[in-house]
């Protein structure tokens, strides 16, 4: 691999001059600049970013820690984050915590050691305490943490309200909501809050079912859904707290001979690719994933530059009607 010294030797200049060209420091004539560039080209010289970042306080890398990557919501998020970061000249260091506390801590330490500009955390379990010792910006998505630098969320309560309103409007009388993981703080809790509020105002019967961490980690809800539908034959409207769960509702309904949307109307959450790929396509609450990803990247960059950033940013959601409610 060609070094700075090789480049200097090739163009007959000192290492200091070549380094000044590379770092755009001080006065350099156009002729010198061209000479250096030509030598770099000839030798296929790649500046050592590792060495360069030593002189800076941080690298142009953003750490991303998420509990799942194959979950459709997280894969769309990482895709959008990579896109937003790349536009600003930042790279992504990706870590999958699988929701385990100790792995999250470990990855936070890894990010610190690697002098990332900041970390974006999507966590199911992250605790305020874990953040206290860190000196780099920590942006949480869909989770507000007291000690974090900033949080980006969508309006989950509004999402729950929109879903309840849409199901009631389409004539449903017995609702079921598949909500968050029990005994853990999840965005789905606020979705339930909004959903319950509308149901109570309109006097519509609803049942809320929480899921288990095991189901969440394995992306597997068939047994839970079959049990609930067997338990109550009158259910005619379901709000699932993710499109992933909604897709499984479609499968369970088909197995039990219930037609969607004729017998049961269904609304998911997230508006990921999957919701457009099922048969029938799933009506859902649109999360502004692209905008949330861009916002998280901007917050990392701004706070790494020492700017003051909003502690909490909440983006609106919207209802997307597809065939599962028509």
């Amino acid at each position: 691999m060609a070094t700075l010294k090789d480049v200097a030797a090739r163009c007959g200049l000192t290492v200091t001059t070549v380094s000044r060209v590379l770092n755009n420091r001080g006065y350099i004539s156009d002729k010198t600049r061209s000479k250096v560039y030509a030598a770099m080209e000839e030798l296929n010289y790649q500046p050592n970013e590792v060495a360069r970042s030593l002189s800076k306080k941080s690298t142009n890398t953003i750490g991303v820690i998420m509990p799942h990557i194959r979950h459709p919501y997280f894969s769309e998020m990482i895709s959008n984050i990579e896109n937003a970061a790349s536009k600003k000249g930042y790279k992504i260091l990706l870590a999958n915590s699988k929701g385990a506390d100790h792995k999250e801590k470990e990855y936070l330490d890894m990010c610190t050691s690697n002098r990332v500009a900041g970390v974006i955390v999507f966590s199911s379990t992250v605790k305020g305490l874990e953040f206290a010792n860190s000196n780099i910006p920590l942006i949480t998505v869909e989770r507000f943490v007291e000690n974090g630098t900033a949080a980006v969320e969508c309006d989950n309560e509004q999402g729950g309200m929109l879903a309840a309103e849409a199901l009631i409007k389409s004539g449903c009388k017995h609702l079921l909501i598949i909500s968050g993981v029990s005994k853990s703080v999840m965005p789905a809790d606020d979705r339930l809050k909004g959903f319950a509020k509308v149901c109570e105002e309109r006097g519509v019967v609803y049942k809320a079912v929480s899921t288990s961490m095991n189901q969440y980690n394995n992306l597997e809800y068939h047994a839970l859904l079959t049990g609930e539908l067997k338990l109550d034959n009158e259910i005619d409207g379901i709000f699932a707290s993710s499109d992933l769960i909604a897709a499984q509702v479609l499968q369970v309904c088909r197995k039990m001979g219930k037609r969607v949307p004729e017998d049961i109307k269904l609304i998911g959450f997230d508006d990921v690719l999957l919701s457009r790929l099922t048969t029938p396509p799933i009506s859902t609450i649109h999360q502004p994933i692209k905008e949330m990803a861009e916002m998280a990247v901007d917050l990392v960059i701004s706070s790494s530059e020492g700017k003051v950033v909003p502690k909490r940013t909440i983006l609106p959601v919207s209802y997307i009607e597809r065939e599962s409610t028509k």
Copy 2:
């Protein structure tokens, strides 16, 4: 942020001694070691990995370049690669090339500058030439490149044969295969080869349709599929070169009043989560994604350590029967 000097001051030892503990070099008494660890803990000292990697030829980072992240196949791949890498103590630097030649070149340069241990490339367009100048191991997945270090593939031809055999066995007489992107070398070409071979041997009619780069980039095949099904009313078996396309076949069939599997039998490719989430679930050719990911990571590590690695590794596929062919 605490430095090595702070740690040394806190435990009353020299920087050299602390550094020796940190790098596990030379003889250090247990007492000294404990002292240093205690001071590091107290000061929340994070070793500067950027500085440490300067003394090594490469960092423990693997670059991953893929054309899509939100495509279900690639999101499962990245999830499995991250998992395999993490087990070996490696981090992932992720880049989305969106299939653009210039972005792939740019990311390869970025990986070189960042002294990654190696790069895993999933490319739709990568050309042998682009690789020639690189000094780091380049592992391609599902693509063989003459100048690459090593390639990991699945047996695509066998996959095509298995799909044709399964459709014919279940009684299909007029087959349709949705194959790769026209005018580009894709794994789907070998799937077509195997499929055609079996059809010709058995004397079964089949039509092969190629897709466009635009459809591939937008993950959108509805218009193509509707057109083909309208053109030929006798089609009773479809082999789609991805589960993503197969999910759209289900949607188009439903729109056209054709039942799967009663009127049309359907087989996808990849065996990603999506194939288990559609209604009905999709029979598919299983790619050993987990094993391919582990193999790619092992190849990066082995070749970065200077070991001789196989130029080409081809893993077997298998047929998974679900409801779309029953």
